[in-house]
């Protein structure tokens, strides 16, 4: 990659055109497993964003000295260091959130989004575009995590930000909104099938919007659809 892309286009790519969760379908395992509430989504989104930003900066800054043959172990080492830091930080300051995210915090190491950006982008450009790209991709990932988490929490438990004290401490307890009475939630949304259905619907919504913007009727533009 020789020419550095402009800032605005980098942001647009990460947040919308190449959104890691909705378009590239990267990092789906933690995305599907953890997004049972909006706060969980914010927590994992922030942790991933931090690791992605740090690893992209470090990879980009050290790209002159890392030999091509050993680049992958070096990337993994950098990412693993950052993930350990995040894990210790979460454990120390937000133990409730750490317990809710469970194994998916250490598993950020294996999030293919992070290694993918290191390999495909950060190791080939200067630190400025690398950091910008990491920020855009991380925010795009977090956006989907939060939206999916909020949707599942709303439909499944009837609350929004119902577990805010996990992130903000006791002061966050008043933030939650309870919209449905008692046990009336649609439990499926909180179970694994709900995650898949929810993500599928989000992708469908994005495609629908994109096709409408492109000015084509959906039935014509989708491959394989029979004429009405």
């Amino acid at each position: 990659m020789s020419a550095t892309p402009p800032t605005a286009s980098l942001l647009r790519e990460g947040l919308w055109h190449q959104n890691p969760a909705l378009v590239q379908l990267l990092g789906l395992c933690p995305l599907l497993a953890v997004s049972t509430s909006a706060i969980n989504g914010v927590g994992l989104g922030l942790a991933t964003l931090f690791v992605l930003l740090g690893s992209s900066l470090a990879v980009s800054a050290s790209r002159q000295w890392v030999a091509r043959e050993i680049r992958l172990p070096v990337f993994v080492l950098i990412i693993a260091t950052l993930v350990t830091m995040v894990e210790l930080l979460l454990r120390a300051y937000t133990p409730g959130l750490f317990r809710a995210l469970g194994i998916f915090v250490p598993l950020i190491v294996t999030n293919c989004l992070i290694l993918g950006r290191a390999e495909a982008f950060a190791s080939r450009v200067g630190w400025r575009p690398a950091a910008l790209d990491a920020l855009a991709m991380g925010l795009g990932f977090m956006l989907v995590l939060v939206v999916l988490g909020a949707l599942r929490e709303l439909v499944g438990a009837g609350t929004l930000l119902g577990d805010a004290e996990r992130l903000f401490g006791p002061g966050g307890r008043g933030l939650g909104v309870h919209l449905l009475p008692g046990d009336a939630g649609f439990l499926l949304a909180l179970l694994p099938p709900g995650a898949f259905i929810g993500l599928g619907l989000l992708i469908a919504l994005r495609n629908h919007y994109r096709l409408r913007r492109a000015g084509a009727a959906p039935a014509e533009a989708l491959p394989g659809a029979a004429p009405a």
């Binding site: 046990d183 649609f186 439990l187 499926l188 179970l191 259905i197 009727a217 959906p218 039935a219 009405a228």
Partner: protein
């Protein structure tokens, strides 16, 4: 000179299309609906009307969304039958919005996401039912009492529309364990089957109230079979798959395992055997495959009822065997006439 049109064979023609088949299925279901509203309260009929109404609306909306002709497709009646089958599986004491959720899952997710009628790998009605029982366990296990007389129309109507009972009625007074629930609980408490059998929850055939429903489903199913709408293989194999293991186990350990009669005439056995497992889209299509498919459902039904954590299991068994249908069909293709034996 008059031109005669020469069409290729076959020249005989049976006036059978999707619409007629669906109409006859509904007709065969009718006696059991009336019987259910008599035994379990007006809720059975209410559920049926609500589910059919919602099913038609959801189907029409999905068809419009997909750019398909709405009116002509609606007339095939498949949405009405899906709604009716779902309604038969629902407890007749259910707020309307749960029925709506089930119908949306059945028609929109279960059928149209896969490409509409004929493309769905799973039975839509059972998919809707399973999503409901997983999502709303409290509401979905609340059945009218199996022994007491059916709840009156006013509390049921009130509950269906608002989700609460009128002040004069208590929920505990009109709901109770179904015979299969009761059986599970008592077996866990180490009662023997002969002791449980003597209780009020069981009649001459199977579970109280449900034995008559099963008889009605059996009659409707036999009528469909005589009209050649339902082939004999799936129901017969299903009932055999349920009878065989229960017979063996009841002979070996008569106190632990109820006999085949209870299994055949309790829960939704006959509904599943004749109306649900025989769904032409999601069932196996080869003659030998139908036998395997039906037998598999019967065995699974017995296994889950005897050892699983749900009292009845028609929906789970049917969905599990739906998953196996592509494999079954692939390995049971009939030999073409004249082709060498494999």
């Amino acid at each position: 000179m008059r031109q005669f049109e020469l069409a290729p064979a076959p020249h005989t023609h049976v006036a059978r299309d999707v619409t007629r088949v669906m109409r006859q299925v509904l007709l065969a279901l009718l006696p059991s609906v009336l019987l259910a509203s008599l035994l379990l309260g007006i809720g059975a009929l209410l559920n049926l009307l609500l589910a059919i109404g919602f099913a038609v609306l959801v189907e029409a909306y999905c068809l419009r969304l997909r750019g398909r002709p709405v009116w002509s497709t609606l007339q095939d009646g498949s949405a009405v039958v899906s709604g009716a089958l779902l309604a038969m599986a629902l407890p007749p004491l259910l707020p309307w919005w749960i029925t709506l959720c089930g119908v949306i899952v059945a028609i929109a997710l279960g059928k149209h996401l896969y490409g509409g009628l004929g493309m769905n790998p799973f039975n839509p009605a059972m998919l809707g039912y399973v999503v409901l029982i997983v999502s709303f366990p409290v509401f979905m296990t609340r059945w009218p009492d199996a022994v007491a007389p059916a709840p009156g129309p006013w509390p049921v109507l009130h509950y269906t529309l608002t989700g609460t009972l009128p002040a004069s009625t208590q929920l505990d007074a009109i709901t109770g364990a179904t015979p299969l629930d009761h059986l599970r609980n008592q077996l866990r408490l180490a009662w023997t089957w002969s002791e449980i059998r003597a209780g009020v929850y069981y009649g001459p055939l199977g579970g109280a109230k449900w034995q008559w429903l099963n008889l009605a489903w059996l009659a409707g199913g036999l009528w469909l079979m005589s009209r050649r709408i339902v082939r004999w293989q799936i129901p017969v194999a299903l009932l055999a798959g349920l009878t065989l293991p229960s017979l063996v186990c009841t002979l070996v350990a008569p106190d632990r395992f109820p006999g085949p009669m209870l299994h055949l005439f309790s829960g939704a056995t006959m509904l599943g055997a004749f109306f649900i497992a025989t769904d032409p889209v999601s069932a196996s299509t080869t003659p030998r495959g139908r036998l395997i498919y039906g037998f598999g459902i019967g065995v699974l039904l017995w296994l889950i009822r005897s050892f699983g954590s749900y009292p009845d299991a028609v929906a789970f068994s049917v969905l599990l065997m739906n998953l196996a249908v592509p494999l079954i069909d692939r390995h049971t293709l009939p030999r073409r006439y004249g082709a060498p034996r494999a």
